[in-house]
Protein backbone atom coordinates (compact mmCIF):
# COMPACT_ATOMS: atom_id res chain seq x y z
CA UNK A 1 0.00 0.00 0.00
CA UNK A 2 1.29 3.46 -0.82
CA UNK A 3 2.73 5.24 2.17
CA UNK A 4 1.79 8.81 2.89
CA UNK A 5 4.66 9.28 5.33
CA UNK A 6 7.30 8.77 2.70
CA UNK A 7 5.84 11.64 0.73
CA UNK A 8 6.73 14.18 3.43
CA UNK A 9 9.17 16.63 1.88
CA UNK A 10 11.85 18.31 3.98
CA UNK A 11 10.07 21.62 3.52
CA UNK A 12 6.94 20.31 5.17
CA UNK A 13 8.96 18.90 8.05
CA UNK A 14 10.60 22.23 8.61
CA UNK A 15 7.17 23.81 8.58
CA UNK A 16 6.10 21.42 11.32
CA UNK A 17 9.20 22.13 13.35
CA UNK A 18 8.78 25.85 12.97
CA UNK A 19 5.38 25.47 14.58
CA UNK A 20 7.36 24.03 17.58
CA UNK A 21 5.75 20.62 17.67
CA UNK A 22 6.28 18.77 20.92
CA UNK A 23 7.49 15.76 18.90
CA UNK A 24 10.96 15.67 17.45
CA UNK A 25 11.24 12.07 16.25
CA UNK A 26 8.79 10.80 13.66
CA UNK A 27 7.93 7.47 12.16
CA UNK A 28 9.13 8.23 8.65
CA UNK A 29 11.11 6.65 5.87
CA UNK A 30 14.75 6.83 6.82
CA UNK A 31 14.24 7.12 10.58
CA UNK A 32 16.73 5.02 12.52
CA UNK A 33 15.09 3.10 15.35
CA UNK A 34 16.15 0.70 18.08
CA UNK A 35 14.39 -2.65 18.32
CA UNK A 36 13.58 -3.35 21.97
CA UNK A 37 11.56 -6.55 21.81
CA UNK A 38 11.95 -9.82 20.00
CA UNK A 39 14.93 -11.73 18.66
CA UNK A 40 16.65 -8.58 17.37
CA UNK A 41 16.47 -6.72 20.67
CA UNK A 42 19.10 -4.04 21.06
CA UNK A 43 19.82 -3.64 17.35
CA UNK A 44 19.40 -0.55 15.22
CA UNK A 45 17.20 -0.57 12.13
CA UNK A 46 15.91 1.89 9.54
CA UNK A 47 12.28 2.45 8.67
CA UNK A 48 11.90 2.13 4.91
CA UNK A 49 8.13 1.90 4.60
CA UNK A 50 5.01 2.00 6.70
CA UNK A 51 2.59 -0.90 6.56
CA UNK A 52 -0.25 0.46 8.64
CA UNK A 53 -0.92 2.25 11.92
CA UNK A 54 0.86 -0.39 13.92
CA UNK A 55 3.58 -1.84 11.68
CA UNK A 56 6.52 -0.56 9.71
CA UNK A 57 8.80 -2.18 7.17
CA UNK A 58 12.31 -2.13 8.48
CA UNK A 59 15.80 -2.97 7.24
CA UNK A 60 19.05 -2.97 9.26
CA UNK A 61 20.69 -2.45 6.85
CA UNK A 62 21.36 -6.15 7.28
CA UNK A 63 25.05 -5.82 6.46
CA UNK A 64 25.66 -3.32 9.27
CA UNK A 65 23.24 -4.03 12.07
CA UNK A 66 22.16 -7.60 11.31
CA UNK A 67 18.46 -6.82 11.17
CA UNK A 68 16.85 -8.39 8.14
CA UNK A 69 14.18 -6.69 6.09
CA UNK A 70 10.94 -7.37 7.89
CA UNK A 71 7.72 -5.87 9.20
CA UNK A 72 8.02 -4.83 12.79
CA UNK A 73 5.41 -3.55 15.22
CA UNK A 74 5.86 0.13 16.04
CA UNK A 75 5.38 -0.71 19.69
CA UNK A 76 8.50 -2.85 19.54
CA UNK A 77 10.79 -0.08 18.40
CA UNK A 78 12.07 3.15 19.88
CA UNK A 79 12.83 6.05 17.56
CA UNK A 80 16.28 7.61 17.70
CA UNK A 81 17.50 11.06 16.75
CA UNK A 82 19.11 9.81 13.56
CA UNK A 83 17.61 9.87 10.10
CA UNK A 84 19.05 8.90 6.74
CA UNK A 85 17.96 10.18 3.34
CA UNK A 86 16.51 6.87 2.26
CA UNK A 87 13.92 6.58 -0.53
CA UNK A 88 10.80 4.48 -0.14
CA UNK A 89 11.70 0.77 -0.02
CA UNK A 90 15.35 1.63 -0.30
CA UNK A 91 17.53 -1.27 -1.49
CA UNK A 92 19.76 -2.68 1.21
CA UNK A 93 22.99 -1.79 -0.64
CA UNK A 94 21.97 1.84 -0.98
CA UNK A 95 20.89 1.95 2.63
CA UNK A 96 24.22 0.52 3.68
CA UNK A 97 26.08 3.20 1.71
CA UNK A 98 23.95 5.90 3.35
CA UNK A 99 24.65 4.48 6.79
CA UNK A 100 28.36 4.49 6.16
CA UNK A 101 28.46 7.99 4.68
CA UNK A 102 26.54 9.40 7.65
CA UNK A 103 28.40 7.13 10.11
CA UNK A 104 25.21 6.37 11.99
CA UNK A 105 26.81 3.54 13.94
CA UNK A 106 29.65 5.80 15.07
CA UNK A 107 27.22 8.51 16.17
CA UNK A 108 25.11 5.94 17.97
CA UNK A 109 28.05 4.49 19.85
CA UNK A 110 29.14 7.97 20.89
CA UNK A 111 25.68 8.92 22.11
CA UNK A 112 24.72 8.58 25.75
CA UNK A 113 21.94 6.17 24.88
CA UNK A 114 24.27 3.97 22.88
CA UNK A 115 26.90 4.05 25.60
CA UNK A 116 24.36 3.06 28.25
CA UNK A 117 23.23 0.04 26.25
CA UNK A 118 26.82 -0.99 25.63
CA UNK A 119 27.62 -0.75 29.34
CA UNK A 120 24.61 -2.82 30.24
CA UNK A 121 25.71 -5.52 27.79
CA UNK A 122 29.25 -5.51 29.17
CA UNK A 123 28.02 -5.77 32.74
CA UNK A 124 25.89 -8.80 31.88
CA UNK A 125 28.86 -10.45 30.26
CA UNK A 126 31.21 -10.14 33.22
CA UNK A 127 32.31 -13.37 34.83
CA UNK A 128 32.83 -13.95 38.56
CA UNK A 129 36.48 -12.87 38.61
CA UNK A 130 35.71 -9.74 36.60
CA UNK A 131 32.92 -8.82 38.98
CA UNK A 132 35.39 -9.14 41.84
CA UNK A 133 37.89 -6.89 40.04
CA UNK A 134 35.16 -4.32 39.37
CA UNK A 135 34.21 -4.38 43.04
CA UNK A 136 37.80 -3.66 44.09
CA UNK A 137 38.10 -0.90 41.47
CA UNK A 138 34.94 0.78 42.75
CA UNK A 139 36.26 0.66 46.31
CA UNK A 140 39.50 2.23 45.14
CA UNK A 141 37.63 4.96 43.30
CA UNK A 142 35.43 5.63 46.29
CA UNK A 143 38.45 5.91 48.55
CA UNK A 144 40.12 8.31 46.12
CA UNK A 145 36.96 10.41 45.98
CA UNK A 146 36.69 10.54 49.76
CA UNK A 147 40.33 11.60 49.98
CA UNK A 148 39.75 14.34 47.39
CA UNK A 149 36.66 15.53 49.25
CA UNK A 150 38.59 15.66 52.48
CA UNK A 151 40.89 18.25 50.97
Amino acid sequence: PPSIFGVFRPATRLALLSRSMPFKRFVEVGRVALICYGPDTGKLCTIINVVDQSRVLVDGPEGITGVRRQAVNIKRIMLTDYKVDAILNCPEKKLKALFESEDIMGKWKASNWGKKLENRKLRLATNDFERFQVMLARKERSAARKAAMGE
Binding site: L124, A125, T126, N127, D128, F129, F132, Q133, L136
Partner: protein
Protein backbone atom coordinates in the same frame (compact mmCIF):
# COMPACT_ATOMS: atom_id res chain seq x y z
CA UNK B 1 -24.96 -58.62 27.90
CA UNK B 2 -22.69 -60.40 25.47
CA UNK B 3 -18.98 -60.02 25.95
CA UNK B 4 -15.81 -61.92 25.23
CA UNK B 5 -14.67 -64.10 28.07
CA UNK B 6 -11.58 -62.63 29.57
CA UNK B 7 -8.94 -65.17 30.39
CA UNK B 8 -6.14 -63.85 32.56
CA UNK B 9 -2.71 -64.16 30.89
CA UNK B 10 -0.74 -67.17 32.01
CA UNK B 11 1.92 -66.26 34.54
CA UNK B 12 5.29 -66.64 32.83
CA UNK B 13 8.13 -66.06 35.25
CA UNK B 14 10.53 -63.47 33.76
CA UNK B 15 14.24 -64.41 33.74
CA UNK B 16 15.28 -61.17 35.44
CA UNK B 17 13.44 -61.49 38.67
CA UNK B 18 14.70 -61.31 42.20
CA UNK B 19 13.59 -64.31 44.16
CA UNK B 20 13.70 -63.84 47.86
CA UNK B 21 15.66 -66.51 49.62
CA UNK B 22 17.97 -66.58 52.58
CA UNK B 23 20.25 -69.08 54.21
CA UNK B 24 20.22 -68.65 57.97
CA UNK B 25 23.18 -69.40 60.18
CA UNK B 26 22.69 -69.64 63.89
CA UNK B 27 24.85 -68.72 66.84
CA UNK B 28 24.51 -69.60 70.44
CA UNK B 29 23.58 -66.78 72.73
CA UNK B 30 23.85 -66.85 76.49
CA UNK B 31 20.64 -65.87 78.20
CA UNK B 32 19.83 -65.30 81.83
CA UNK B 33 17.00 -66.67 83.86
CA UNK B 34 16.96 -69.97 85.71
CA UNK B 35 14.24 -71.63 83.69
CA UNK B 36 15.25 -70.39 80.20
CA UNK B 37 17.62 -73.16 79.25
CA UNK B 38 20.87 -71.11 79.53
CA UNK B 39 21.49 -70.74 75.77
CA UNK B 40 19.40 -70.03 72.74
CA UNK B 41 20.01 -70.42 69.01
CA UNK B 42 19.88 -66.98 67.49
CA UNK B 43 20.31 -66.19 63.77
CA UNK B 44 23.52 -64.21 63.16
CA UNK B 45 21.66 -62.00 60.70
CA UNK B 46 18.06 -61.10 61.39
CA UNK B 47 15.50 -61.69 58.64
CA UNK B 48 14.23 -58.44 57.12
CA UNK B 49 10.93 -57.09 58.40
CA UNK B 50 9.70 -56.70 54.82
CA UNK B 51 10.04 -58.53 51.58
CA UNK B 52 7.74 -58.32 48.56
CA UNK B 53 4.99 -60.93 48.28
CA UNK B 54 5.62 -61.48 44.59
CA UNK B 55 8.96 -61.81 42.88
CA UNK B 56 10.09 -58.38 41.69
CA UNK B 57 11.77 -57.74 38.33
CA UNK B 58 15.34 -56.54 38.44
CA UNK B 59 15.80 -53.13 36.82
CA UNK B 60 18.36 -53.41 34.04
CA UNK B 61 20.73 -50.40 34.12
CA UNK B 62 20.42 -48.01 31.19
CA UNK B 63 23.39 -47.60 28.87
CA UNK B 64 24.42 -44.38 30.58
CA UNK B 65 24.10 -45.92 34.05
CA UNK B 66 26.15 -48.94 33.10
CA UNK B 67 28.87 -46.81 31.51
CA UNK B 68 29.24 -44.45 34.45
CA UNK B 69 29.55 -47.30 37.00
CA UNK B 70 27.90 -45.11 39.61
CA UNK B 71 30.47 -42.32 39.26
CA UNK B 72 29.11 -38.87 38.46
CA UNK B 73 30.15 -37.55 35.07
CA UNK B 74 32.40 -34.52 35.39
CA UNK B 75 30.84 -31.36 34.02
CA UNK B 76 32.49 -29.94 30.91
CA UNK B 77 33.03 -26.64 32.67
CA UNK B 78 35.20 -28.26 35.35
CA UNK B 79 38.81 -28.90 34.31
CA UNK B 80 41.97 -29.12 36.46
CA UNK B 81 42.69 -25.61 37.70
CA UNK B 82 39.14 -24.29 37.51
CA UNK B 83 38.13 -22.01 40.34
CA UNK B 84 35.03 -23.42 41.98
CA UNK B 85 32.55 -21.78 44.32
CA UNK B 86 31.46 -24.12 47.11
CA UNK B 87 27.78 -23.86 47.86
CA UNK B 88 27.35 -26.15 50.84
CA UNK B 89 29.22 -27.62 53.73
CA UNK B 90 31.76 -26.18 56.12
CA UNK B 91 33.27 -23.92 53.46
CA UNK B 92 30.16 -22.66 51.74
CA UNK B 93 30.66 -19.46 49.79
CA UNK B 94 34.41 -19.99 49.40
CA UNK B 95 36.39 -20.20 46.23
CA UNK B 96 38.75 -23.12 45.72
CA UNK B 97 40.97 -24.58 43.04
CA UNK B 98 39.90 -27.87 41.48
CA UNK B 99 42.66 -30.48 41.15
CA UNK B 100 41.11 -33.71 39.91
CA UNK B 101 38.13 -36.01 40.10
CA UNK B 102 38.59 -38.95 42.43
CA UNK B 103 37.46 -42.49 41.55
CA UNK B 104 34.36 -42.10 43.73
CA UNK B 105 33.25 -39.15 41.61
CA UNK B 106 34.01 -36.52 44.24
CA UNK B 107 36.21 -33.58 43.34
CA UNK B 108 39.60 -33.03 44.97
CA UNK B 109 40.04 -29.35 45.75
CA UNK B 110 42.48 -27.18 47.66
CA UNK B 111 42.20 -23.55 48.92
CA UNK B 112 45.18 -23.27 48.68
CA UNK B 113 45.39 -23.54 52.45
CA UNK B 114 47.61 -20.49 52.98
CA UNK B 115 45.20 -18.34 50.98
CA UNK B 116 41.81 -19.20 52.40
CA UNK B 117 42.30 -21.97 54.94
CA UNK B 118 40.74 -24.72 52.88
CA UNK B 119 42.90 -27.86 52.90
CA UNK B 120 42.99 -30.71 50.41
CA UNK B 121 39.41 -31.80 50.52
CA UNK B 122 36.80 -33.80 48.71
CA UNK B 123 33.75 -31.97 47.44
CA UNK B 124 30.61 -33.05 45.63
CA UNK B 125 30.21 -31.74 42.12
CA UNK B 126 26.53 -31.05 42.68
CA UNK B 127 27.24 -28.44 45.36
CA UNK B 128 29.66 -26.43 43.30
CA UNK B 129 29.52 -23.59 40.79
CA UNK B 130 32.26 -23.80 38.19
CA UNK B 131 33.56 -20.37 37.23
CA UNK B 132 35.22 -19.69 33.91
CA UNK B 133 38.39 -18.60 35.72
CA UNK B 134 41.17 -21.12 36.04
CA UNK B 135 44.66 -21.44 37.43
CA UNK B 136 47.48 -23.40 35.83
CA UNK B 137 47.92 -26.59 37.85
CA UNK B 138 50.42 -28.38 35.63
CA UNK B 139 53.09 -28.00 38.28
CA UNK B 140 50.90 -29.71 40.88
CA UNK B 141 51.11 -33.48 41.32
CA UNK B 142 47.88 -34.82 42.80
CA UNK B 143 48.31 -38.42 41.68
CA UNK B 144 48.90 -39.84 45.14
CA UNK B 145 45.51 -38.74 46.47
CA UNK B 146 42.62 -41.13 46.27
CA UNK B 147 39.45 -41.70 48.24
CA UNK B 148 41.28 -43.83 50.84
CA UNK B 149 43.37 -40.78 51.79
CA UNK B 150 40.26 -39.03 53.01
CA UNK B 151 37.35 -39.85 55.23
CA UNK B 152 37.11 -40.97 58.84
CA UNK B 153 38.70 -44.34 59.32
CA UNK B 154 36.21 -46.50 61.22
CA UNK B 155 36.96 -46.21 64.89
CA UNK B 156 35.14 -48.86 66.86
CA UNK B 157 33.91 -47.22 70.01
CA UNK B 158 33.55 -49.57 72.95
CA UNK B 159 30.39 -49.00 74.91
CA UNK B 160 31.01 -46.89 77.99
CA UNK B 161 29.88 -48.35 81.25
CA UNK B 162 29.64 -46.79 84.65
CA UNK B 163 32.58 -44.56 85.48
CA UNK B 164 33.74 -44.44 81.87
CA UNK B 165 30.98 -41.93 81.12
CA UNK B 166 32.71 -39.42 83.35
CA UNK B 167 36.18 -40.08 82.00
CA UNK B 168 37.43 -37.63 79.37
CA UNK B 169 37.40 -38.64 75.72
CA UNK B 170 40.93 -39.83 75.07
CA UNK B 171 40.86 -39.76 71.32
CA UNK B 172 41.74 -36.39 69.85
CA UNK B 173 41.80 -35.73 66.16
CA UNK B 174 45.41 -34.71 65.56
CA UNK B 175 46.38 -33.61 62.10
CA UNK B 176 49.03 -36.02 60.88
CA UNK B 177 52.37 -34.75 59.68
CA UNK B 178 51.70 -36.52 56.42
CA UNK B 179 48.70 -34.28 55.79
CA UNK B 180 50.70 -31.15 56.49
CA UNK B 181 53.53 -32.08 54.16
CA UNK B 182 51.11 -33.15 51.43
CA UNK B 183 49.30 -29.85 51.73
CA UNK B 184 52.53 -27.91 51.29
CA UNK B 185 53.65 -30.11 48.43
CA UNK B 186 50.49 -29.25 46.54
CA UNK B 187 50.15 -25.62 47.57
CA UNK B 188 53.70 -24.32 47.05
CA UNK B 189 53.83 -24.76 43.27
CA UNK B 190 50.21 -23.62 43.08
CA UNK B 191 50.99 -20.40 44.94
CA UNK B 192 53.71 -19.42 42.47
CA UNK B 193 51.23 -19.62 39.58
CA UNK B 194 48.51 -17.87 41.57
CA UNK B 195 50.80 -14.98 42.42
CA UNK B 196 51.50 -14.45 38.73
CA UNK B 197 47.91 -13.37 38.13
CA UNK B 198 47.16 -10.06 39.80
CA UNK B 199 44.36 -10.19 42.38
CA UNK B 200 43.96 -13.97 42.02
CA UNK B 201 45.01 -14.66 45.62
CA UNK B 202 42.63 -11.96 46.85
CA UNK B 203 39.89 -13.45 44.71
CA UNK B 204 40.40 -16.90 46.16
CA UNK B 205 40.34 -15.46 49.65
CA UNK B 206 37.11 -13.55 49.06
CA UNK B 207 33.73 -15.11 49.69
CA UNK B 208 30.93 -15.38 47.19
CA UNK B 209 27.50 -14.02 47.98
CA UNK B 210 24.42 -12.76 46.17
CA UNK B 211 23.17 -9.23 46.59
CA UNK B 212 19.54 -8.32 46.32
CA UNK B 213 19.37 -7.68 42.60
CA UNK B 214 21.58 -10.55 41.50
CA UNK B 215 19.97 -13.66 40.07
CA UNK B 216 22.32 -16.61 39.55
CA UNK B 217 20.50 -17.84 36.48
CA UNK B 218 21.13 -14.51 34.77
CA UNK B 219 24.75 -14.26 35.87
CA UNK B 220 27.72 -15.43 33.96
CA UNK B 221 30.28 -17.26 36.09
Amino acid sequence: FVGTSRVPPAHVPSPNRVTFSMTVTFAKKEIGGAKNGGTRDVPTKKAPTYYPAEDVPVKAPSEREAKSCGVAKLRKSITPGTVLILLAGRFRGRRVVFLKQLPSGLLLVTGPYQVNGIPLRRVNQAYVIATSTSVNVQSVDASKFGDEYFGNKNKSKAKKKGDDFLAADEEKNELSEERKTDQLAVDTPLMTTIEQTPLMAKYLKARFSLSKKQAPHAMKF
